[in-house]
């Protein structure tokens, strides 16, 4: 440093001083333990008034004047075509735009939607739906049974290229239509007249009504599809039958939905306008919530969870979600092929309570089973060792490990492969350390980008232990079990057990719910005996919700329809205080426009 010109010294000194300011600021900020005012910004938010219900509906005097809901929605939806959409963000928006034959209540129960009632034949294979008589599309066109027939055919048609087409497999001939062996008009769906349609199934499918509330079964407006083709879901073109219609779509900026006056229950929905904001950065989402710009977030970032629990306890909502997080074993190659004992050892050696308490920390339930709890009357099959102490589990693990031929001199060498994510990394690291500590296993961690990861999992050439998990499409344990059928598309575990497959077949045909639950439990038990997976925890949904927003309920599918929600007034002197920057009163626009 001595031979630098003198001015550089002075400059460096000056900048060093300034640089020291920086961490000082950081320390100051970190030491600030005052709870942040909820959704403050410069406008201090008053709490909402007490909720007053009259006949189960909120009394008019407690409702805010501007019923506008601003929802953070994660990623930009890939498409708003219900048949081609995938992912939760698109699903949220579609649930507000469209309605299927059935729909869901705020608590997740399946209730009549476009169909006001239905008959199910004795053998459970024939469903007859009777639609409401006055259904209309958002442009005033009547919505009739043949719209549903057209839409289900379109969803199954391979030309539509729907990712979710396989959900329609329970319908007669769906398998042939999807694979192109039969034309779509051979699908087992037929309109008996303008207001009734009949669907024939391959086997009695107890979760079929729930399936019909999924986006794959939503009706689409035929003239629009035929006129606009791939662009029928765009602003100005989209005609929908749900509680809202699409007012504007600015990609990656916002999607604005406005109340659909033609919706069958329009008078019951209180929320006038819904703005979906695709905020990818979870920290950014929290910031916008705190600044009062959002009422509802998509999620919360893991690393802020503890802080949010302390500072925003009322706003933070955590509830069980129908999903399981587990690691999978590749049963088709070394070192896990034909080694159930070794796999069991690895399953036993980890401490799940520790993982959920200290590593992930968002209140997930540790899990030993495949199917999460909370699905109707189904009781997951909990293995015996779930009741042991961790000490006992570790002892058994060590015994099995040695029995498989491994020891301190001959440790197992394996890898855990996961896709890029902070959470995955932490968990993989923790699991690897636990294995090392209790058994002496030497584990390499392999971090891959998502698409590469998926491809490797599918090919099963490189994988040994990999991060897996499953979030259910519909509210039934079968959704989890069928993942493990031999040769199933996402069966990256190479699990193939003919008894298990036979079980799945029988379960598909079983009509009695109690017997079916028992059989599924038994199938799950069979599966867990073979240890193709290492269960860790069941998912929870976690987000921030402004206390002004009411009418929603936590449910395991995490489906929240905007039409059930409403906003309470703020508790303070001036009537409009504390809300978002005042929105212009919503125009009573009718969704007309030239659709000819």
């Amino acid at each position: 440093m001595r031979h630098w010109p003198d001015r550089t010294h002075k400059e460096l000194r000056a900048s060093k001083l300034l640089v020291l300011l920086f961490p000082a600021l950081v320390l100051l900020a970190a030491c600030d333990n005052r709870p942040a005012p909820p959704g403050a910004g410069g406008k201090h938010r008053a709490p909402p008034v007490e909720l007053v219900l009259v006949d189960g509906r909120p009394a008019p005097e407690v409702l805010a004047e501007n019923q506008v809901l601003r929802r953070g929605n994660g990623e930009e939806p890939r498409t708003l075509d219900p048949h081609r959409s995938q992912g939760v963000p698109a699903g949220n928006i579609l649930r507000d735009l469209f309605e299927g034959l059935t729909t869901e209540a705020p608590d997740g129960d399946i209730i009549p939607g476009a169909a006001m009632r239905w008959n199910i034949s004795r053998d459970g294979k024939e469903y007859t739906f009777y639609l409401h008589r006055n259904l209309q599309w958002s442009n005033g066109d009547p919505l009739l049974a043949h719209d549903f027939v057209y839409s289900l055919r379109r969803a199954a048609d391979p030309a539509t290229a729907s990712n979710n087409a396989n959900m329609l497999l329970p319908i007669a001939h769906a398998a042939e239509v999807i694979s192109g062996r039969l034309p779509p008009d051979q699908l087992g769906v037929v309109a008996l007249d303008d207001y009734s349609l009949q669907i024939r199934l391959v086997d009695a499918t107890p979760y079929f009504l729930g399936l019909l509330s999924h986006t794959i079964a939503y009706p689409v407006h035929r003239p629009s599809v035929e006129q606009y083709g791939d662009q029928f879901a765009r602003e100005g073109n989209l005609v929908s039958n749900g509680a809202y219609w699409l007012q504007s779509w600015e990609p990656r900026a916002q999607i604005v939905l406005i109340r659909n006056p033609y919706y069958r229950e329009a008078e019951l929905s209180l929320m006038d306008k819904v703005v979906y904001l695709p905020i990818e950065d979870l920290s950014g989402e929290v910031n916008q919530f705190r600044a009062g710009e959002l009422d509802w977030t998509y999620e919360v970032p893991n690393n802020q969870f503890a802080w949010l629990q302390k500072n925003y306890p009322e706003e933070l909502v955590v509830s069980p979600w129908l999903g399981s997080f587990f690691f999978g074993f590749n049963l088709s190659r070394e070192p896990f092929v034909e080694e159930p004992g070794l796999r069991r050892a690895l399953v036993l050696a980890i401490d799940r309570e520790l993982l959920t308490e200290k590593v992930t920390q968002f209140g997930e339930e540790p899990s030993f089973a495949l199917v999460p709890p909370g699905i109707g009357d189904y009781e997951p099959s909990i293995p015996e060792y779930a009741g042991w102490t961790q000490q006992q589990r570790v002892e058994e693990a060590q015994r099995l490990y040695q029995q498989a031929g491994y020891s301190a001199d001959n440790p197992l060498r394996t890898e855990i492969r996961y896709n890029t994510s902070e959470n995955n990394k932490k968990l993989a690291l923790a699991v690897a350390s636990m294995w090392k500590q209790e058994l002496g296993v030497l584990t390499t961690l392999v971090n891959e980008e998502w698409k590469v990861f998926l491809q490797n999992r599918e090919q099963k050439i490189l994988t040994e232990v990999f991060r897996a998990g499953w979030i259910s499409d519909y509210n039934d344990p079968y959704s989890f079990l069928e993942l493990f059928r031999s040769g199933e598309a996402r069966n990256d575990f190479a699990y193939s057990n003919p008894s298990f497959d036979a079980f799945l077949e029988e379960i598909a045909k079983e009509r009695s719910p109690q017997r079916r639950n028992r059989m599924m439990r038994e199938a799950e038990r069979l599966l867990l005996e073979d240890n193709p997976i290492l269960p860790v925890y069941t998912y929870v949904s976690k987000r921030l919700v402004d206390p002004h927003v009411q009418g929603w309920q936590s449910n395991v599918m995490d489906h929240h329809y905007s039409r059930y929600m409403y906003k309470l007034k703020s508790r303070s002197a001036s009537p409009d205080a504390g809300e978002q920057p005042a929105e212009a009163p919503v125009q009573e626009e009718h969704a007309t426009g030239d659709r000819s």
């Binding site: 400059e11 942040a36 406008k43 498409t79 087409a165």
Partner: protein, 311 residues
């Protein structure tokens, strides 16, 4: 101006092979990555996957796809986005570019004027306390990444004070302030240092000494004689820097939830959205090439010697 005109023409011709090379390399590079646009956690039924690949011509031999794509490009049609199925790439770029351009453009303008001004002041008061403060701050500004500055700005101005929105985008000034500021700060710092160094050098040159000897007032010396040559390094830095900023800063756009072009680069690649990635890469390449060309022109205008050197 014929010297300048000939100069310009020769540079324009040079654009075409550059762009072609860019297109070719990008085209084959993205297809080398494992995984395709239609891989997802839910496996696609085979028939559907085949249909999709046929629809997007992904089942054709690679060379055939390449020539088909070049043909499409010549009509300025970048194709449909694989990922955002309701949109074409042209539409997405047309919607995203104005946003990135506004933010990036304003940031560059701010950086240029403030940075140059501050740099000139520091140069004129060389080795004084002012000089050291300014350069010290500049050093800090250059070292701290913008994704560190951004959260501070957001927490301060948006969350705690509520003066500005914490993110999101509308065509209103309040949504632009923080992103522009965050983008501009490091560039201001860099330009300030650049300008200062360059101005000091110019002020020591012979012709300036002559002008002083002739009795010209200092401010005229600076404005009329020193400024143009001192600007040269700054201009030459700003060409590619502007290109980078106006095509979208991935980080800033993510932090502030701004619908610019930046995230299409990353998301497009991660999702193997071949057409979108190609579209933005070509667009970016084009912008860089054009801006470099503009820089060259400006250079030639600022320093006539260059025009005639190329003869």
């Amino acid at each position: 101006m014929s010297g300048l005109g000939r100069f310009a023409a020769s540079r324009i011709l040079g654009l075409i092979p550059t762009l072609l090379m860019l297109i070719t390399i990008a085209f084959f590079l993205i297809r080398v990555a494992p995984g395709g646009p239609f891989d997802g956690e839910k496996a696609l039924p085979d028939e559907i996957r085949l249909n999709l690949e046929a629809k997007y011509h992904l089942d054709e031999p690679l060379l055939q796809q390449y020539f088909r794509y070049i043909g499409q490009i010549l009509t300025l049609d970048f194709g449909p986005s694989f990922q955002y199925k309701d949109w074409t790439v042209n539409e997405l770029i047309a919607l995203g570019f104005p946003v990135s351009l506004t933010i990036g453009g304003l940031a560059m303008l701010l950086a240029f004027f403030v940075g140059s001004l501050v740099g000139i002041v520091a140069a004129l008061r060389q080795n004084s306390a002012t000089d050291y403060t300014i350069m010290g701050l500049a050093m800090v500004g250059v070292s701290i990444p913008n994704f560190v500055i951004a959260p501070f700005l957001i927490l301060g101005a948006a969350v705690y004070l509520g003066w500005l929105p914490a993110g999101g985008w509308e065509w209103q000034a309040q949504y632009m302030v923080l992103p522009v500021l965050t983008l501009a700060l490091p560039v201001i710092a860099y330009i300030a240092r650049l300008m200062r160094g360059s101005m000091i050098e110019v002020l020591h040159s012979n012709y300036i000494r002559t002008a002083r000897a002739k009795g010209l007032p200092e401010y005229l010396i600076v404005l009329r004689h020193a400024l143009k040559p001192a600007l040269l390094p700054v201009i030459s830095f700003m060409g590619p820097a502007t290109a980078g900023l106006i095509t979208g800063s991935v980080v800033i756009e993510r932090i502030y939830s701004i619908p610019g072009l930046g995230s299409y680069f990353v998301q497009g690649a991660l999702n193997r959205d071949y057409t979108l990635v190609m579209g933005v890469v070509i667009f970016y390449g084009f912008v860089i090439v054009v801006l470099n060309f503009v820089v060259d022109l400006l250079y030639a205008w600022l320093n006539p010697k260059i025009r005639y050197e190329k003869g």
